[in-house]
Protein backbone atom coordinates (compact mmCIF):
# COMPACT_ATOMS: atom_id res chain seq x y z
CA UNK A 1 0.00 0.00 0.00
CA UNK A 2 1.09 3.58 -0.59
CA UNK A 3 -0.49 6.27 1.55
CA UNK A 4 -0.78 10.00 2.12
CA UNK A 5 -1.82 11.19 5.57
CA UNK A 6 -3.05 14.77 5.53
CA UNK A 7 -4.15 17.20 8.20
CA UNK A 8 -7.94 17.02 8.04
CA UNK A 9 -9.82 19.86 6.36
CA UNK A 10 -11.09 21.20 3.07
CA UNK A 11 -7.81 20.69 1.25
CA UNK A 12 -7.45 17.10 2.46
CA UNK A 13 -10.98 16.31 1.23
CA UNK A 14 -10.17 17.85 -2.15
CA UNK A 15 -6.96 15.83 -2.44
CA UNK A 16 -8.89 12.65 -1.58
CA UNK A 17 -11.47 13.42 -4.26
CA UNK A 18 -8.71 14.16 -6.79
CA UNK A 19 -6.91 10.93 -5.88
CA UNK A 20 -10.09 8.95 -6.62
CA UNK A 21 -10.19 10.32 -10.14
CA UNK A 22 -6.84 8.80 -11.11
CA UNK A 23 -6.72 5.81 -8.78
CA UNK A 24 -9.99 3.90 -8.64
CA UNK A 25 -8.96 1.65 -5.74
CA UNK A 26 -8.16 4.51 -3.37
CA UNK A 27 -9.32 4.14 0.23
CA UNK A 28 -10.04 7.17 2.41
CA UNK A 29 -10.08 6.86 6.19
CA UNK A 30 -10.77 9.58 8.76
CA UNK A 31 -8.61 9.55 11.91
CA UNK A 32 -8.77 12.18 14.68
CA UNK A 33 -7.31 15.25 12.96
CA UNK A 34 -6.11 13.31 9.93
CA UNK A 35 -7.32 11.99 6.62
CA UNK A 36 -5.55 8.88 5.36
CA UNK A 37 -5.61 8.26 1.60
CA UNK A 38 -4.20 4.92 0.52
CA UNK A 39 -4.07 2.77 -2.59
CA UNK A 40 -2.37 -0.45 -3.61
CA UNK A 41 0.93 0.12 -5.36
CA UNK A 42 0.50 3.60 -6.70
CA UNK A 43 -1.25 6.85 -5.86
CA UNK A 44 -1.40 9.93 -8.08
CA UNK A 45 -2.93 13.31 -7.45
CA UNK A 46 -3.22 15.97 -10.12
CA UNK A 47 -2.98 19.61 -9.06
CA UNK A 48 -5.57 20.64 -11.62
CA UNK A 49 -8.05 18.10 -10.21
CA UNK A 50 -7.52 19.45 -6.69
CA UNK A 51 -7.90 23.03 -7.98
CA UNK A 52 -11.15 22.07 -9.63
CA UNK A 53 -12.45 20.53 -6.39
CA UNK A 54 -11.50 23.60 -4.38
CA UNK A 55 -12.50 26.14 -6.98
CA UNK A 56 -9.18 27.93 -6.75
CA UNK A 57 -5.53 27.42 -7.72
CA UNK A 58 -3.68 24.75 -5.74
CA UNK A 59 -0.18 23.31 -6.06
CA UNK A 60 2.17 20.92 -4.32
CA UNK A 61 3.56 23.65 -2.07
CA UNK A 62 0.16 23.69 -0.41
CA UNK A 63 0.30 19.92 -0.17
CA UNK A 64 3.53 20.27 1.82
CA UNK A 65 1.74 22.41 4.40
CA UNK A 66 -0.82 19.70 5.20
CA UNK A 67 1.22 16.56 4.43
CA UNK A 68 1.61 14.89 7.83
CA UNK A 69 2.99 11.60 6.61
CA UNK A 70 3.35 9.30 3.64
CA UNK A 71 4.21 5.70 2.88
CA UNK A 72 5.81 4.82 -0.45
CA UNK A 73 8.40 6.49 -2.62
CA UNK A 74 7.77 9.93 -4.05
CA UNK A 75 8.35 9.47 -7.75
CA UNK A 76 6.91 12.81 -8.81
CA UNK A 77 6.40 16.14 -7.07
CA UNK A 78 6.05 18.98 -9.57
CA UNK A 79 3.56 21.43 -11.08
CA UNK A 80 1.43 18.60 -12.47
CA UNK A 81 0.99 16.88 -9.18
CA UNK A 82 2.37 14.21 -6.90
CA UNK A 83 2.91 10.52 -7.44
CA UNK A 84 3.80 7.87 -4.86
CA UNK A 85 4.66 4.27 -5.55
CA UNK A 86 6.83 1.39 -4.54
CA UNK A 87 9.59 0.47 -6.96
CA UNK A 88 8.51 -3.14 -7.29
CA UNK A 89 5.46 -1.77 -9.03
CA UNK A 90 7.46 -0.06 -11.73
CA UNK A 91 6.93 -2.98 -14.09
CA UNK A 92 3.22 -2.34 -13.86
CA UNK A 93 3.44 1.39 -14.40
CA UNK A 94 2.73 1.05 -18.09
CA UNK A 95 -0.69 -0.39 -17.30
CA UNK A 96 -1.85 2.36 -14.96
CA UNK A 97 -2.65 5.99 -15.46
CA UNK A 98 0.17 8.46 -15.72
CA UNK A 99 -0.35 11.97 -14.45
CA UNK A 100 -2.09 13.81 -17.24
CA UNK A 101 -2.38 10.55 -19.20
CA UNK A 102 -5.58 9.06 -20.52
CA UNK A 103 -5.91 5.33 -20.79
CA UNK A 104 -5.11 2.44 -18.52
CA UNK A 105 -6.28 0.38 -15.59
CA UNK A 106 -5.74 1.23 -11.97
CA UNK A 107 -2.56 -0.04 -10.41
CA UNK A 108 -2.83 -3.20 -8.33
Amino acid sequence: MVRLELMAGEQADAVAAAARKLTPLVEVEALPGLVSISAPGRLTVSCSDVSEELGEPWDTRQLQVILANYTGFITKMNEEGVELRWMEDQARVGESKELGGKAGHGAG
Binding site: G33, L34, Q64, L67
Partner: protein, 505 residues
Protein backbone atom coordinates in the same frame (compact mmCIF):
# COMPACT_ATOMS: atom_id res chain seq x y z
CA UNK B 1 -7.36 27.38 4.34
CA UNK B 2 -6.81 26.63 0.71
CA UNK B 3 -5.81 30.12 -0.27
CA UNK B 4 -3.44 30.49 -3.18
CA UNK B 5 -0.50 32.85 -2.87
CA UNK B 6 -2.11 35.50 -4.97
CA UNK B 7 -0.50 38.35 -3.05
CA UNK B 8 3.02 37.55 -4.18
CA UNK B 9 3.80 35.84 -7.46
CA UNK B 10 6.11 32.87 -7.01
CA UNK B 11 9.35 32.75 -8.91
CA UNK B 12 7.68 30.09 -10.99
CA UNK B 13 4.87 32.40 -12.06
CA UNK B 14 7.18 35.31 -12.64
CA UNK B 15 9.71 33.43 -14.76
CA UNK B 16 7.58 30.67 -16.28
CA UNK B 17 10.28 28.21 -15.21
CA UNK B 18 9.34 24.69 -14.19
CA UNK B 19 10.01 23.52 -10.65
CA UNK B 20 12.81 21.37 -12.01
CA UNK B 21 14.47 24.34 -13.73
CA UNK B 22 14.18 26.54 -10.67
CA UNK B 23 15.41 23.82 -8.38
CA UNK B 24 18.47 23.36 -10.56
CA UNK B 25 19.12 27.08 -10.71
CA UNK B 26 18.77 27.65 -6.98
CA UNK B 27 20.61 24.57 -5.72
CA UNK B 28 22.92 22.87 -8.23
CA UNK B 29 23.87 26.04 -10.04
CA UNK B 30 24.94 27.63 -6.77
CA UNK B 31 27.72 25.05 -6.56
CA UNK B 32 31.11 26.10 -7.81
CA UNK B 33 34.60 24.70 -8.05
CA UNK B 34 36.86 26.52 -5.60
CA UNK B 35 39.82 28.35 -7.10
CA UNK B 36 41.80 29.76 -4.20
CA UNK B 37 41.42 26.84 -1.79
CA UNK B 38 41.74 23.14 -2.54
CA UNK B 39 38.46 21.24 -2.91
CA UNK B 40 39.48 19.00 0.02
CA UNK B 41 39.71 22.08 2.22
CA UNK B 42 36.25 23.21 1.25
CA UNK B 43 34.69 19.74 1.59
CA UNK B 44 36.89 17.76 3.99
CA UNK B 45 37.15 14.13 2.78
CA UNK B 46 35.96 12.68 6.10
CA UNK B 47 32.49 14.02 5.27
CA UNK B 48 32.38 11.80 2.18
CA UNK B 49 33.79 8.68 3.82
CA UNK B 50 32.03 5.61 5.06
CA UNK B 51 30.16 4.75 1.86
CA UNK B 52 31.11 3.98 -1.74
CA UNK B 53 29.92 6.73 -4.03
CA UNK B 54 31.63 8.84 -6.66
CA UNK B 55 29.24 11.07 -8.54
CA UNK B 56 27.67 13.19 -5.81
CA UNK B 57 25.82 15.23 -8.37
CA UNK B 58 23.62 12.18 -9.01
CA UNK B 59 21.99 12.45 -5.60
CA UNK B 60 18.65 14.26 -5.75
CA UNK B 61 15.99 15.67 -3.40
CA UNK B 62 12.58 14.19 -4.31
CA UNK B 63 10.83 17.37 -3.12
CA UNK B 64 12.96 19.58 -5.43
CA UNK B 65 12.76 22.33 -2.88
CA UNK B 66 14.62 25.60 -3.19
CA UNK B 67 14.98 28.30 -0.60
CA UNK B 68 12.34 30.78 -1.65
CA UNK B 69 9.63 28.14 -1.90
CA UNK B 70 10.82 26.61 1.34
CA UNK B 71 10.28 29.89 3.19
CA UNK B 72 6.82 30.35 1.73
CA UNK B 73 5.72 26.84 2.70
CA UNK B 74 7.15 27.12 6.20
CA UNK B 75 5.59 30.51 6.76
CA UNK B 76 2.16 29.01 6.13
CA UNK B 77 2.85 26.14 8.50
CA UNK B 78 3.89 28.55 11.25
CA UNK B 79 0.84 30.76 10.74
CA UNK B 80 -1.40 27.71 11.02
CA UNK B 81 0.30 26.47 14.17
CA UNK B 82 0.34 29.78 16.02
CA UNK B 83 -3.29 30.38 15.17
CA UNK B 84 -4.06 27.14 17.00
CA UNK B 85 -1.91 28.19 19.97
CA UNK B 86 -3.58 31.62 20.16
CA UNK B 87 -6.97 30.00 19.98
CA UNK B 88 -6.08 27.40 22.61
CA UNK B 89 -4.72 30.06 24.98
CA UNK B 90 -7.70 32.38 24.43
CA UNK B 91 -10.27 29.69 25.26
CA UNK B 92 -8.13 27.91 27.86
CA UNK B 93 -8.00 24.55 26.09
CA UNK B 94 -5.40 23.37 28.60
CA UNK B 95 -8.03 23.18 31.33
CA UNK B 96 -9.97 20.64 29.24
CA UNK B 97 -7.09 18.26 28.62
CA UNK B 98 -7.44 14.94 30.46
CA UNK B 99 -5.39 15.30 33.63
CA UNK B 100 -3.55 12.02 33.08
CA UNK B 101 -2.49 13.09 29.60
CA UNK B 102 -1.35 16.47 30.89
CA UNK B 103 1.10 14.73 33.24
CA UNK B 104 2.52 12.91 30.21
CA UNK B 105 2.93 16.21 28.39
CA UNK B 106 5.39 17.29 31.11
CA UNK B 107 7.56 14.32 30.21
CA UNK B 108 7.17 14.69 26.46
CA UNK B 109 7.53 18.46 26.10
CA UNK B 110 10.52 18.84 28.42
CA UNK B 111 12.46 16.30 26.35
CA UNK B 112 11.41 16.95 22.80
CA UNK B 113 12.96 20.34 22.12
CA UNK B 114 16.51 19.31 22.85
CA UNK B 115 16.35 16.26 20.59
CA UNK B 116 15.22 18.54 17.77
CA UNK B 117 18.10 20.86 18.51
CA UNK B 118 20.63 18.01 18.41
CA UNK B 119 19.31 17.05 14.98
CA UNK B 120 19.60 20.69 13.91
CA UNK B 121 23.31 20.69 14.80
CA UNK B 122 23.77 17.42 12.97
CA UNK B 123 22.30 18.79 9.76
CA UNK B 124 24.16 22.07 9.93
CA UNK B 125 27.37 20.06 9.59
CA UNK B 126 25.95 18.11 6.64
CA UNK B 127 24.75 21.36 5.03
CA UNK B 128 28.22 22.82 5.24
CA UNK B 129 30.47 19.88 4.45
CA UNK B 130 28.60 17.29 2.40
CA UNK B 131 30.07 16.52 -1.03
CA UNK B 132 26.58 16.29 -2.59
CA UNK B 133 25.09 19.67 -3.65
CA UNK B 134 21.48 18.48 -3.36
CA UNK B 135 22.20 17.08 0.08
CA UNK B 136 23.77 20.33 1.25
CA UNK B 137 20.64 22.23 0.21
CA UNK B 138 18.26 19.69 1.75
CA UNK B 139 20.29 19.52 4.98
CA UNK B 140 20.23 23.31 5.23
CA UNK B 141 16.42 23.29 5.10
CA UNK B 142 16.33 20.40 7.50
CA UNK B 143 18.52 22.19 10.03
CA UNK B 144 16.16 25.16 9.87
CA UNK B 145 13.21 22.77 10.25
CA UNK B 146 14.72 21.23 13.35
CA UNK B 147 15.37 24.65 14.83
CA UNK B 148 11.74 25.55 14.13
CA UNK B 149 10.67 22.41 15.98
CA UNK B 150 12.98 23.12 18.92
CA UNK B 151 11.59 26.64 19.21
CA UNK B 152 8.01 25.45 18.89
CA UNK B 153 8.50 22.99 21.73
CA UNK B 154 9.94 25.84 23.81
CA UNK B 155 6.83 27.79 22.83
CA UNK B 156 4.62 24.92 23.98
CA UNK B 157 6.44 24.83 27.34
CA UNK B 158 5.85 28.54 27.71
CA UNK B 159 2.20 28.16 26.75
CA UNK B 160 1.67 25.41 29.35
CA UNK B 161 3.94 26.90 31.98
CA UNK B 162 1.77 30.00 32.24
CA UNK B 163 -1.00 27.84 33.68
CA UNK B 164 0.64 24.83 35.27
CA UNK B 165 3.80 23.70 37.07
CA UNK B 166 6.01 20.95 35.67
CA UNK B 167 6.81 22.59 32.35
CA UNK B 168 9.87 24.56 33.39
CA UNK B 169 13.53 23.74 33.86
CA UNK B 170 13.66 21.48 30.82
CA UNK B 171 17.33 22.17 30.04
CA UNK B 172 18.54 20.81 33.39
CA UNK B 173 16.05 17.98 33.32
CA UNK B 174 17.16 16.88 29.86
CA UNK B 175 20.82 17.08 30.76
CA UNK B 176 20.75 15.54 34.23
CA UNK B 177 17.54 13.69 34.98
CA UNK B 178 18.00 9.90 34.97
CA UNK B 179 14.89 9.31 32.90
CA UNK B 180 16.29 11.36 29.99
CA UNK B 181 19.77 9.80 29.95
CA UNK B 182 18.82 7.22 27.33
CA UNK B 183 17.40 9.62 24.79
CA UNK B 184 20.13 12.19 25.36
CA UNK B 185 22.77 9.54 24.84
CA UNK B 186 21.13 8.24 21.65
CA UNK B 187 21.10 11.73 20.14
CA UNK B 188 24.70 12.39 21.15
CA UNK B 189 25.62 9.09 19.51
CA UNK B 190 23.88 10.30 16.35
CA UNK B 191 25.69 13.63 16.48
CA UNK B 192 29.10 11.95 16.71
CA UNK B 193 28.42 9.35 14.02
CA UNK B 194 29.70 9.29 10.44
CA UNK B 195 27.51 11.79 8.46
CA UNK B 196 25.98 9.07 6.29
CA UNK B 197 25.35 6.93 9.33
CA UNK B 198 23.64 9.97 10.85
CA UNK B 199 21.39 10.28 7.78
CA UNK B 200 20.41 6.61 8.00
CA UNK B 201 19.88 6.95 11.76
CA UNK B 202 17.96 10.24 11.63
CA UNK B 203 16.28 10.47 8.23
CA UNK B 204 15.48 6.81 7.77
CA UNK B 205 15.12 5.07 11.13
CA UNK B 206 14.06 8.00 13.30
CA UNK B 207 12.00 9.99 10.83
CA UNK B 208 10.31 7.15 8.96
CA UNK B 209 10.24 4.51 11.67
CA UNK B 210 9.69 6.36 14.91
CA UNK B 211 8.26 9.76 14.14
CA UNK B 212 5.26 8.04 12.60
CA UNK B 213 4.57 6.58 16.01
CA UNK B 214 5.16 9.81 17.90
CA UNK B 215 4.01 12.44 15.43
CA UNK B 216 1.14 10.72 13.62
CA UNK B 217 -0.24 7.96 15.86
CA UNK B 218 0.35 9.81 19.13
CA UNK B 219 -1.30 13.13 18.11
CA UNK B 220 -4.47 11.18 17.33
CA UNK B 221 -4.29 9.85 20.90
CA UNK B 222 -3.52 13.37 22.18
CA UNK B 223 -6.50 14.76 20.28
CA UNK B 224 -8.73 12.08 21.84
CA UNK B 225 -7.53 13.37 25.22
CA UNK B 226 -8.32 16.96 24.20
CA UNK B 227 -4.75 18.23 23.82
CA UNK B 228 -5.34 19.87 20.45
CA UNK B 229 -2.54 22.44 20.56
CA UNK B 230 0.07 19.74 21.13
CA UNK B 231 -1.53 17.49 18.50
CA UNK B 232 -1.23 20.28 15.95
CA UNK B 233 2.38 20.87 17.03
CA UNK B 234 3.16 17.20 16.37
CA UNK B 235 1.50 17.26 12.96
CA UNK B 236 3.24 20.44 11.81
CA UNK B 237 6.56 18.94 12.95
CA UNK B 238 5.81 15.77 11.05
CA UNK B 239 4.95 17.75 7.91
CA UNK B 240 8.65 18.69 7.77
CA UNK B 241 9.68 15.12 8.50
CA UNK B 242 8.03 14.03 5.26
CA UNK B 243 10.77 15.90 3.40
CA UNK B 244 13.44 14.37 5.62
CA UNK B 245 12.02 10.92 5.02
CA UNK B 246 12.24 11.45 1.27
CA UNK B 247 15.92 12.43 1.61
CA UNK B 248 16.63 9.32 3.68
CA UNK B 249 14.85 7.04 1.22
CA UNK B 250 16.61 8.64 -1.75
CA UNK B 251 19.98 8.37 -0.01
CA UNK B 252 19.53 4.67 0.74
CA UNK B 253 18.33 3.87 -2.74
CA UNK B 254 21.07 5.91 -4.44
CA UNK B 255 23.82 4.24 -2.40
CA UNK B 256 22.45 0.74 -2.95
CA UNK B 257 22.14 1.30 -6.67
CA UNK B 258 25.61 2.86 -6.92
CA UNK B 259 27.77 0.15 -5.40
CA UNK B 260 26.95 -3.25 -3.93
CA UNK B 261 29.63 -2.77 -1.28
CA UNK B 262 27.27 -0.27 0.36
CA UNK B 263 24.75 -3.00 1.22
CA UNK B 264 26.47 -4.44 4.32
CA UNK B 265 27.31 -0.91 5.53
CA UNK B 266 23.72 0.29 5.26
CA UNK B 267 22.37 -2.93 6.74
CA UNK B 268 24.71 -2.50 9.70
CA UNK B 269 23.54 1.05 10.35
CA UNK B 270 19.91 0.01 9.97
CA UNK B 271 20.44 -2.82 12.48
CA UNK B 272 22.12 -0.49 14.95
CA UNK B 273 19.74 2.46 14.78
CA UNK B 274 16.50 0.50 14.76
CA UNK B 275 17.48 -1.10 18.06
CA UNK B 276 19.05 2.05 19.53
CA UNK B 277 16.00 4.20 18.89
CA UNK B 278 13.52 1.43 19.65
CA UNK B 279 14.96 1.22 23.15
CA UNK B 280 14.36 4.89 23.94
CA UNK B 281 10.95 4.85 22.27
CA UNK B 282 9.97 1.80 24.31
CA UNK B 283 10.93 3.73 27.44
CA UNK B 284 9.44 7.10 26.55
CA UNK B 285 6.72 6.54 23.96
CA UNK B 286 4.99 3.31 24.93
CA UNK B 287 3.38 4.61 28.13
CA UNK B 288 1.56 7.43 26.31
CA UNK B 289 -0.54 4.96 24.33
CA UNK B 290 -1.17 2.55 27.20
CA UNK B 291 -1.20 4.66 30.38
CA UNK B 292 -1.17 8.46 30.03
CA UNK B 293 -4.10 8.26 27.60
CA UNK B 294 -7.32 8.27 29.60
CA UNK B 295 -9.24 7.96 26.34
CA UNK B 296 -7.39 5.17 24.64
CA UNK B 297 -7.24 4.97 20.86
CA UNK B 298 -4.79 2.17 20.14
CA UNK B 299 -2.27 0.22 22.17
CA UNK B 300 1.47 0.73 21.80
CA UNK B 301 1.67 -2.79 20.49
CA UNK B 302 -0.91 -2.04 17.79
CA UNK B 303 0.68 1.30 16.86
CA UNK B 304 4.12 -0.30 16.69
CA UNK B 305 2.83 -3.05 14.44
CA UNK B 306 1.08 -0.65 12.07
CA UNK B 307 3.55 2.21 11.87
CA UNK B 308 6.89 0.60 12.58
CA UNK B 309 6.57 -2.98 11.37
CA UNK B 310 4.04 -2.78 8.53
CA UNK B 311 4.68 0.72 7.21
CA UNK B 312 8.35 1.31 7.93
CA UNK B 313 9.96 -2.12 7.81
CA UNK B 314 7.45 -3.49 5.30
CA UNK B 315 7.87 -0.44 3.08
CA UNK B 316 11.63 -0.46 3.30
CA UNK B 317 11.85 -4.13 2.36
CA UNK B 318 9.28 -3.67 -0.36
CA UNK B 319 11.37 -0.86 -1.79
CA UNK B 320 14.93 -1.97 -1.14
CA UNK B 321 14.57 -5.71 -0.57
CA UNK B 322 15.35 -6.30 -4.25
CA UNK B 323 18.73 -4.64 -3.57
CA UNK B 324 19.42 -7.14 -0.80
CA UNK B 325 18.31 -5.17 2.27
CA UNK B 326 16.94 -7.38 5.03
CA UNK B 327 14.76 -6.75 8.07
CA UNK B 328 16.64 -5.26 11.02
CA UNK B 329 18.69 -7.74 13.02
CA UNK B 330 16.81 -7.20 16.30
CA UNK B 331 13.25 -6.84 15.02
CA UNK B 332 12.18 -10.12 16.62
CA UNK B 333 13.52 -8.96 19.99
CA UNK B 334 11.36 -5.85 19.73
CA UNK B 335 8.28 -7.91 18.90
CA UNK B 336 9.06 -10.30 21.77
CA UNK B 337 9.11 -7.35 24.18
CA UNK B 338 5.87 -5.78 22.94
CA UNK B 339 3.66 -7.53 25.48
CA UNK B 340 5.64 -6.25 28.45
CA UNK B 341 7.29 -2.96 27.45
CA UNK B 342 4.88 -0.25 28.56
CA UNK B 343 3.78 -2.15 31.68
CA UNK B 344 7.32 -2.60 32.99
CA UNK B 345 8.10 1.06 32.31
CA UNK B 346 4.95 2.24 34.07
CA UNK B 347 5.63 0.08 37.12
CA UNK B 348 9.25 1.29 37.17
CA UNK B 349 8.13 4.93 37.10
CA UNK B 350 5.40 4.40 39.71
CA UNK B 351 8.00 2.96 42.08
CA UNK B 352 10.12 6.09 41.53
CA UNK B 353 7.27 8.58 41.49
CA UNK B 354 8.96 10.75 44.13
CA UNK B 355 11.89 11.34 41.80
CA UNK B 356 9.84 12.74 38.90
CA UNK B 357 8.45 16.13 37.89
CA UNK B 358 5.19 14.64 36.62
CA UNK B 359 2.71 12.39 38.34
CA UNK B 360 2.03 8.75 37.67
CA UNK B 361 -1.05 6.88 38.82
CA UNK B 362 -2.57 3.46 39.21
CA UNK B 363 -4.68 2.22 36.32
CA UNK B 364 -8.38 2.29 37.23
CA UNK B 365 -10.94 -0.50 36.65
CA UNK B 366 -11.72 0.67 33.13
CA UNK B 367 -8.02 0.93 32.25
CA UNK B 368 -7.38 -2.58 33.54
CA UNK B 369 -10.17 -4.08 31.42
CA UNK B 370 -8.63 -2.43 28.35
CA UNK B 371 -5.07 -3.41 29.29
CA UNK B 372 -6.06 -7.05 29.80
CA UNK B 373 -7.86 -7.09 26.47
CA UNK B 374 -4.91 -5.61 24.57
CA UNK B 375 -2.27 -7.50 26.54
CA UNK B 376 -3.56 -10.90 27.69
CA UNK B 377 -0.49 -11.45 29.94
CA UNK B 378 -0.99 -8.18 31.85
CA UNK B 379 -2.45 -9.69 35.03
CA UNK B 380 0.36 -12.21 35.31
CA UNK B 381 3.00 -9.57 34.65
CA UNK B 382 1.98 -6.67 36.89
CA UNK B 383 -1.44 -7.55 38.33
CA UNK B 384 -0.03 -8.36 41.79
CA UNK B 385 1.94 -5.16 41.87
CA UNK B 386 -1.14 -3.01 41.29
CA UNK B 387 -3.12 -5.10 43.80
CA UNK B 388 -0.46 -4.21 46.37
CA UNK B 389 -0.75 -0.55 45.45
CA UNK B 390 -4.50 -0.70 45.85
CA UNK B 391 -4.09 -2.42 49.23
CA UNK B 392 -2.02 0.56 50.36
CA UNK B 393 1.37 -1.13 50.44
CA UNK B 394 4.49 0.98 50.02
CA UNK B 395 5.86 -0.09 46.66
CA UNK B 396 8.39 2.71 46.29
CA UNK B 397 11.89 1.75 45.28
CA UNK B 398 14.36 4.61 45.05
CA UNK B 399 17.47 2.45 45.07
CA UNK B 400 20.06 1.83 42.39
CA UNK B 401 19.15 -0.43 39.49
CA UNK B 402 21.60 -1.66 36.85
CA UNK B 403 21.80 0.67 33.88
CA UNK B 404 22.71 -0.61 30.40
CA UNK B 405 26.19 0.50 29.36
CA UNK B 406 25.07 1.13 25.82
CA UNK B 407 21.64 2.74 25.91
CA UNK B 408 21.83 4.19 29.47
CA UNK B 409 18.33 2.92 30.15
CA UNK B 410 17.62 0.90 33.30
CA UNK B 411 17.79 -2.85 32.70
CA UNK B 412 14.10 -3.52 33.31
CA UNK B 413 13.00 -5.12 30.05
CA UNK B 414 12.63 -8.83 29.64
CA UNK B 415 10.78 -11.12 27.29
CA UNK B 416 9.72 -14.75 27.73
CA UNK B 417 13.16 -16.13 26.84
CA UNK B 418 15.35 -13.23 27.80
CA UNK B 419 16.41 -11.97 31.24
CA UNK B 420 16.68 -8.27 32.07
CA UNK B 421 20.45 -8.31 32.34
CA UNK B 422 23.02 -9.47 29.81
CA UNK B 423 26.76 -9.76 30.32
CA UNK B 424 29.17 -9.09 31.66
CA UNK B 425 31.84 -8.54 29.05
CA UNK B 426 35.25 -7.26 30.06
CA UNK B 427 37.37 -4.43 28.73
CA UNK B 428 40.55 -3.30 30.48
CA UNK B 429 39.64 -5.27 33.58
CA UNK B 430 36.22 -3.71 33.92
CA UNK B 431 32.86 -5.42 33.52
CA UNK B 432 30.07 -4.10 31.32
CA UNK B 433 26.40 -5.10 31.51
CA UNK B 434 23.63 -4.61 28.97
CA UNK B 435 19.84 -4.65 28.82
CA UNK B 436 19.63 -6.70 25.65
CA UNK B 437 21.50 -8.58 22.90
CA UNK B 438 20.95 -5.54 20.67
CA UNK B 439 22.73 -3.16 23.01
CA UNK B 440 25.60 -5.60 23.56
CA UNK B 441 26.01 -6.03 19.79
CA UNK B 442 26.11 -2.26 19.24
CA UNK B 443 28.67 -1.84 22.03
CA UNK B 444 30.93 -4.56 20.66
CA UNK B 445 30.84 -3.09 17.14
CA UNK B 446 32.49 0.11 18.38
CA UNK B 447 33.86 -0.43 21.90
CA UNK B 448 36.28 2.48 21.61
CA UNK B 449 33.40 4.87 21.19
CA UNK B 450 31.21 3.55 23.97
CA UNK B 451 33.97 2.86 26.50
CA UNK B 452 34.31 6.64 26.86
CA UNK B 453 30.68 6.95 27.83
CA UNK B 454 29.73 6.90 31.51
CA UNK B 455 26.29 6.05 32.81
CA UNK B 456 24.71 7.98 35.65
CA UNK B 457 25.37 5.00 37.92
CA UNK B 458 29.09 5.17 37.03
CA UNK B 459 29.05 8.86 37.89
CA UNK B 460 27.23 8.24 41.18
CA UNK B 461 29.75 5.57 42.18
CA UNK B 462 32.58 7.96 41.32
CA UNK B 463 31.00 10.63 43.50
CA UNK B 464 30.39 12.96 40.57
CA UNK B 465 26.64 12.86 41.08
CA UNK B 466 25.26 13.50 44.60
CA UNK B 467 24.41 10.35 46.56
CA UNK B 468 22.12 12.14 49.02
CA UNK B 469 18.55 11.94 47.72
CA UNK B 470 17.63 15.60 48.18
CA UNK B 471 20.87 16.70 46.55
CA UNK B 472 20.39 14.15 43.80
CA UNK B 473 16.90 15.47 43.07
CA UNK B 474 18.23 19.04 42.86
CA UNK B 475 20.98 17.88 40.52
CA UNK B 476 18.33 16.11 38.40
CA UNK B 477 16.35 19.31 37.95
CA UNK B 478 13.56 18.50 40.42
CA UNK B 479 12.95 21.87 42.05
CA UNK B 480 9.64 20.95 43.65
CA UNK B 481 9.30 17.31 44.77
CA UNK B 482 5.52 17.71 45.14
CA UNK B 483 5.30 17.71 41.34
CA UNK B 484 5.94 13.95 41.43
CA UNK B 485 3.98 11.31 43.29
CA UNK B 486 0.62 9.69 42.65
CA UNK B 487 -1.92 11.78 40.78
CA UNK B 488 -4.82 10.50 42.87
CA UNK B 489 -3.26 9.96 46.30
CA UNK B 490 -3.65 12.84 48.73
CA UNK B 491 -0.44 14.07 50.17
CA UNK B 492 1.80 11.72 48.24
CA UNK B 493 4.86 13.01 46.48
CA UNK B 494 5.70 15.24 49.42
CA UNK B 495 8.86 13.33 50.18
CA UNK B 496 7.50 11.18 53.01
CA UNK B 497 8.58 7.59 53.24
CA UNK B 498 11.81 7.83 51.32
CA UNK B 499 13.29 4.43 51.76
CA UNK B 500 17.03 4.84 51.59
CA UNK B 501 19.78 7.33 51.10
CA UNK B 502 20.83 6.36 47.63
CA UNK B 503 19.54 8.74 45.06
CA UNK B 504 20.46 7.23 41.72
CA UNK B 505 17.90 5.16 39.81
Amino acid sequence: MAQADTDRPSVREATQQTIQEQYKEFTRDLTWEPTYVAREDMYPPEHAEGVYFKDWDKFDDPFRLYYKDYVRVQEKKEQGLHMVFDHAARYDFLSRVEETWLEGMKLFACGQGQTEYETCKDHMAIARYSPAPALRAAALYQSIDELRHAQNYAHYLRYANRKLPGFSGWATLFQNHWLYQGIRDAFEDLLTANPFEAIIGANVVLEIGFTNLNFVALPTVGAANYEHAWAQLQLTTQSDETRHMAIGQAMMRTLLEADERNLPILQDWLDKWTWRLYRVDALGGSIFFDYFAKNKVMSYKEAFQKYFVDDFIGGLLNDLGPHGLKEPRFLQDMLDEMDVTSHLVWKYLYQRKKMLWFKTFQPDEEDIVWLKEKYPGWQELVGDFWDDVRAGKDVDNLGLVPVCHLCHVACIFHSPDRPTLRGPIEYDGRQYWFCSPGCQWIFEREPQKYLQDKTIVDLALEGKVPADLDEFLKFSGITDPSLGGDLYANGSGNGSGRSNGSGAP
